[in-house]
């Protein structure tokens, strides 16, 4: 069969599955510059099963997509046959405010989910970049977390059930709708952060939290990273129990429109008496308090940091690192050297009491930066990765993508991960080439 004949067969087959109006040829979205042959928006898990069966039979690559807010990450895909949107999976599986749980389709946006539960004074703990676009499915597939990871945990902690279709087109579930449940393998853990390479998540259940009655953000500015880390350690050894504890470097502060020092943003929840205790414990080092809409905007800006950066400095290197707590400061010091030696400006934000850093580097003013500097900086960071740490090059200029591997070394045995991949997606149709395998 010729390539054209195959393409037209693909379109008619997928239209037969999803309906004519839900398959688009030549979609506008591209994946790291690679144009998909077509985009399909199935309306049910069964339609996804049918699409994946067809893809397995014909060796087609399928890229699952939610709001496409994180699709700028990962390795270059060799090709994209089907861009598969989950946006029509929007049912509510269960919701009872009294149970503090909710189950929704993967196509729900994070903003919709947060707003829905806020009506009952509940809180969904997942931060998302661009929450009006980010979806439940995308949040889980990328394992995304933001500043509230500090106090509430990440998706691995608050996701209690998941339904999905494996790469080899098996419809299955893990967990359930109760907050405590150890029956069967923990399929949530398998899928969260698997970057859409094992299965397509169709719905998920979450643990919710009572919404805090009030919150306050205490901002402390420091002249050096060293002082900021000393403050972090002081908080960690205190009885305080903040819901966010975020480091913002001076250059990142400029992007977030804070003040451009080394800042620690500490968000606390509680009564007036509790907030007064925070004031007393933190002392004079707090330069200002933020509350109300400004406070919410600030924390959303922290979650949006990558997107803001890429808008303001398109040719930049953006790296995410997870590392043991004690390594955060020395690694950050080392990164400053890497940035300096390649003529880059360095900005960092991070959950410094969890062990997560987002690092951005872009050409310093008037610097003569070339492709080589980007490649060198990425490998410089990789070489400084301490034991047990892992990293992802989320973004680099398109022309350097061929020279920069998106994923660094990981503490987990690669062969075991490969076994999982081979079990759930043996023909490698889901997101081929973009992740590890």
């Amino acid at each position: 069969m010729s390539a054209t004949a195959t393409a037209s067969r693909l379109v008619s087959e997928l239209r037969a599955i999803c309906g004519v109006g839900h398959v688009a040829e030549a979609p506008t979205e591209n994946i790291l510059g690679v144009a998909p042959s077509l985009a399909a928006t199935p309306g049910s898990p069964d339609e996804i099963v049918a699409i994946l069966r067809f893809a397995n039979e014909h060796g087609l690559s399928v890229v699952p997509a939610g709001g496409c807010t994180q699709q700028y990450t990962g390795n270059l895909p060799p090709r994209v046959d089907v861009l598969l949107y989950t946006s029509r999976l929007t049912e509510v599986e269960h919701y009872d405010a009294g149970d503090l749980t909710i189950g929704v389709g993967a196509g729900w946006t994070i903003a919709q989910l947060s707003a829905k539960v806020a009506e009952d004074r509940l809180f969904f703990a997942g931060d998302a970049a661009l929450p009006g676009r980010s979806t439940v499915g995308g949040l889980l597939a990328t394992g995304f977390y933001g500043p509230h990871r500090h106090g509430y945990g990440g998706p691995r902690d608050y996701c209690i059930g998941v339904r999905f279709v494996t790469g080899d087109a098996r419809k299955a579930k893990g967990g359930g709708r109760v907050v405590k449940n150890v029956a069967g393998y923990d399929m949530m853990k398998v899928l969260i952060g698997s970057q859409g390479t094992l299965g397509i998540i169709t719905s998920a259940s979450f643990k919710l939290f009572p919404a805090p009655r009030q919150t306050r953000t205490f901002v402390s500015d420091f002249a050096s990273a060293e002082e900021a880390f000393a403050f972090r350690n002081r908080v960690l050894h205190s009885p305080l129990d903040p819901i966010c504890l975020e480091l913002v470097s001076p250059e990142a502060g400029a992007l977030l429109e804070t003040r451009g020092a080394w800042s620690i943003l500490l968000r606390a929840a509680g009564s007036d008496a509790v907030l007064a205790r925070y004031r007393a414990e933190l002392g004079a080092v707090v330069s200002r308090e933020i509350e109300g809409q400004n406070e919410n905007d600030l924390w959303q800006a922290v979650s949006d940091f990558s997107h803001t950066l890429l808008e303001m400095h398109p040719p930049s290197l953006l790296i995410s690192m997870t590392l043991p707590l004690a390594d955060v400061q020395p690694v950050l010091d080392g990164l400053a050297l890497v940035a300096h030696s390649n003529d880059f400006t360095l900005a960092a934000v991070g959950r410094v009491a969890v062990g997560h850093l987002l690092i951005a580097m872009w050409p310093a003013p008037n610097a003569d930066v070339t492709l080589v500097n980007f490649v060198n900086a990425a490998s410089g960071l990789r070489n400084r990765l301490p034991r047990d740490a892992s990293m992802a090059v989320l973004h680099c200029p398109p022309e350097s993508r061929h020279h920069v591997t998106a994923w660094g070394p990981m503490p987990t045995d690669l062969e075991s991960m490969r076994k999982v991949k081979m079990t759930l997606d043996p023909k490698d149709i889901l997101n081929p080439g973009r992740f590890l395998f």
Binding site: D241, A273, L323, G355, P411, M422, L436
Partner: protein, 479 residues
């Protein structure tokens, strides 16, 4: 290879004094804290990861089933060997390998006793959060296999939320590492997958766990109710008031009287039920929440709300809760503990159903459970010397768990599926759900030598148990 030959191999690997294979010795390893029994062919006590690896290779070449065993406190038969198989007992791998205060982590061998770790780091102001009732005896390796919980999982989560890395010996004998000291890692979350896999994927030989800072303030309340129903409604009301206690336990009247006679914890003898409620955290927050909880309880018809005034009083209230199983041993020759979970709003109805089941099967059923997260522990009393009583106990248990599933819950919140609940997995999950899980097991444990006949139903069971599609209650619940 014959069993004596295998035993000889094991002696060469682990030492002459590190293998048991005489019938009188093996009897000690034929049961756990559940009700099933099966006699192993040999028990081996490795001292190093390398020995575990060699043992696995021997078992693999002899095609003998293997099960890892900690303290044998599990309630689901998870640590019981297949008849004639090898038990790898971890009582000689019980060292705390590292306490890393700067990273808030400890690295332990699987045989470390849960409570010992918290005691070991107590002087640093740290502790290990998962606290099963058996924490004085159970091991962290066992906690990892079963993904164990405890009263304080309400706020702090089960074992998986506290494990960041594992060293694992696979059935092939290969030694691999999943995760490490970082809280999160890129790549598939093999650590999260491994924890709670009930010893069917590999055997943990070193475990990296989180250490938490001890809270500044702890308040422990005892709310006394005339009826189980009032106590059940109070659980929902506390949650609705926006309070997340660290622990929220319920004991019904029969159970608390039995415990009181055993350990004099100070429980009221004439109550219908009590709630044991613990709040922890910042002093100011705890005081406010304790007051708010007291108000909610009184609004919900609590007769009285007491607060432990001293650490001794607090310890005594918890001693009652944690020694409940010992107390039951005084009044009944046997008991069967279940571990179903229901949505919080269904607790009162579930207790009602358990009462009906008690009448239907003519068995005493006590209730002592983690009410805050809907994790029920009905304790079914019977006498194992009478076959009909055992049968009724099993039937009552199945009845209760099917009810839990029907109202949107699960068959296990912290004890694991093990041997005893594996047939019910076919009610909770579809055949394809189980197919996906077993295909993952087979990827690591291809010959199914590692803890066989656990966790998953046999294909025969799948067909025999009424599947979800045919069950009108389940179909209505959208399960």
């Amino acid at each position: 290879m014959s069993l004596p030959q295998v035993a000889e191999h094991l002696r060469k690997i682990a030492g002459r004094d590190a293998v048991l294979d005489r019938p009188e010795d093996l009897m000690l390893y034929e049961y756990d804290a559940g009700i099933r029994k099966s006699t192993p062919g040999a028990v081996v006590f490795p001292q190093t990861t390398e020995q575990v690896s060699q043992i696995m290779r021997v078992a693999s070449s002899a095609q003998m089933p293997v099960v890892a065993r900690g303290a044998g406190t599990g309630l689901s038969g998870g640590a019981i060997s297949k008849e004639g198989g090898i038990v790898i007992a971890f009582s000689r791998m019980s060292r705390i390998l590292e306490v890393d205060v700067a990273n808030q982590r400890a690295v332990v061998q699987p045989g470390v006793v849960n409570l010992q770790l918290s005691e070991h780091v107590s002087h640093l102001g740290l502790y290990f959060a998962p606290d099963p009732s058996s924490q004085k005896a159970c091991t962290i390796g066992g906690n990892v296999a079963e993904n164990s919980g405890g009263p304080h999982t309400l706020m702090y989560g089960v074992t998986v939320n506290h494990v960041t890395g594992v060293e694992v010996v696979l059935p092939s004998g290969e030694i691999v590492h999943f995760g490490g000291k970082a809280a999160e890692s890129y790549g598939y979350d093999m650590t999260g997958f491994f924890v709670g896999s009930e010893g069917t994927v590999g055997i943990a030989t070193a475990i990296t766990v989180k250490l938490l800072r001890k809270p500044e303030k702890v308040a422990t309340l005892l709310a006394i109710f005339e009826s189980v129903d009032d106590a059940g409604q109070t659980v929902s009301a506390i949650t609705a008031a926006g309070i997340t206690p660290a622990a929220l336990e319920m004991l019904d009247g029969w159970t608390l009287r039995t415990i009181e006679a055993y350990c004099h914890a100070g429980y009221p003898l004439d109550a219908g039920a009590v709630l044991l409620i613990e709040l922890d955290g910042l002093r100011e927050a705890v005081e406010e929440q304790a007051e708010a909880v007291r108000e909610v309880c009184l609004q919900q018809k609590a007769r009285e709300v007491r607060r432990a005034k001293t650490e001794e009083e607090r310890a005594l209230l918890w001693k009652g809760r944690k020694t409940a199983f010992g107390a039951l041993g005084r009044v009944s020759p046997s008991y069967y503990t279940q571990d179903g979970v229901v949505p919080r709003s269904k607790i009162a109805a579930t207790l009602q159903h358990i009462g009906d089941v008690s009448k239907k099967y003519d068995l005493i059923i006590g209730n002592i459970f983690h009410a805050g997260d809907g994790n029920m522990h009905p304790l079914i009393l019977f006498d194992i010397r009478f076959a009909d009583q055992l049968e009724r106990a099993l039937a009552a248990s199945k009845d209760i768990l099917e009810y839990c599933i029907a109202v949107g819950g699960s068959i296990t919140g912290e004890h694991g599926v093990g041997m005893e609940k594996r047939d019910l997995m076919a009610v909770l999950f579809t055949e394809q759900d189980l197919d996906v899980m077993t295909s993952l097991r087979n990827a690591f444990n291809r010959e199914n030598l590692l803890n066989p006949e656990k966790l998953f139903p046999t294909p025969r069971m799948c067909r025999e148990i009424l599947g979800p599609a045919q069950n009108p209650v389940l179909a209505q619940e959208g399960m």
